[in-house]
């Protein structure tokens, strides 16, 4: 299945693009999507461990099952203000 990932903040520096599409074997969870992204390099994998993930305007856990068409938002450590 295909999953779209929107990369916020510094995560974009590792993916090189705001949106990334992942192809995962079913069944898959948020953790699987993050693991696939982490294959891009150790430094990014380390940042991914500090990321939260949202679907729509809800934070979701890494155990959440994915469905084709899901759009994940990758939220690295925040620094507002």
């Amino acid at each position: 299945m295909e999953i779209k990932v929107q990369c916020y903040g510094p995560t974009r520096r590792y993916t090189g693009a705001e949106f990334v599409t992942l192809t995962l074997h079913e069944p898959a969870t948020v953790a699987d999507a993050l693991a696939r992204l982490g294959e891009r390099g150790d430094e990014f994998a380390q940042l991914l461990r500090q990321c939260a993930v949202a679907v729509g305007d809800e934070l979701v856990r890494r155990t959440r099952p994915l469905q084709t068409g899901d759009e994940l938002a990758l939220l690295p450590p925040v620094a507002g203000g």
Binding site: Y8, G9, P10, R13, A31, L34, R49, Q50, C51, A52, V53, A54, G56, D57, E58, L59, R61, R62, T63, A73, L75, P76, P77, V78, A79, G80, G81
Partner: protein, 170 residues
């Protein structure tokens, strides 16, 4: 539009006047915080900042934090707006307003709401320096502590964070 209905994430310059337009006869204390862009960070001259946000989630979380802090500190009004986009030196990135019957609650709620927004809301700050380089300011992990696979200790990515502004309550 009542101040209560404002979008909490705004790309236009923030207006303090708009935020305090609705007075409250039952409140003796009004506290305000403005976080403005400094011309330096860790001795490096800063030219400008770019803030980005996950706007729908950030808006929702700021409203939740406002309600939570107002209830905990018995404040009557608790309101925060955060700007995104490019900001020059001296511009306001965040404005927070609290009204409470008495000043002790207004001070406590102001500090609490600003800290919570800084630590929990999906907003990112990228600094652009005079030499043409830029860097994201290291921040706080907002994954739930028990979210398997997420880094839970240390909860915050502080290794390169020398921003004294970034003081946690814990």
């Amino acid at each position: 539009m009542s101040p209560a209905d404002f979008p909490r994430i705004q790309s236009a310059p923030l207006s303090l006047d708009a935020l305090i337009a609705d007075g409250r006869d039952d409140c003796g204390a009004l506290t305000i915080f403005a976080g403005t862009v400094r011309n330096h960070h860790d001795q490096r001259p800063v030219e400008y900042l770019v803030y980005t946000a996950h706007a729908p989630l950030a808006d929702k979380m700021i409203r939740e934090i406002e309600r939570e802090v107002a209830a905990r500190h018995r404040a009557t009004v608790c309101r925060v707006v955060h700007r995104i986009g490019r900001l020059g030196i001296g511009e306001s990135a965040i404005l927070a307003v609290v009204r409470a019957p008495h000043r002790a609650e207004a001070f406590a709620a102001l500090r609490a709401v600003v800290d919570a927004v800084k630590h929990r809301v999906p907003i990112w700050k990228e600094e652009f320096y005079s030499d043409g380089s830029s860097a994201f300011v290291t921040g706080c992990c907002i994954a739930e502590a028990d979210d398997a696979g997420a880094a839970s200790a240390p909860r915050h990515a502080h290794e390169h964070d020398h921003d004294h502004d970034h003081d946690h309550a814990h």
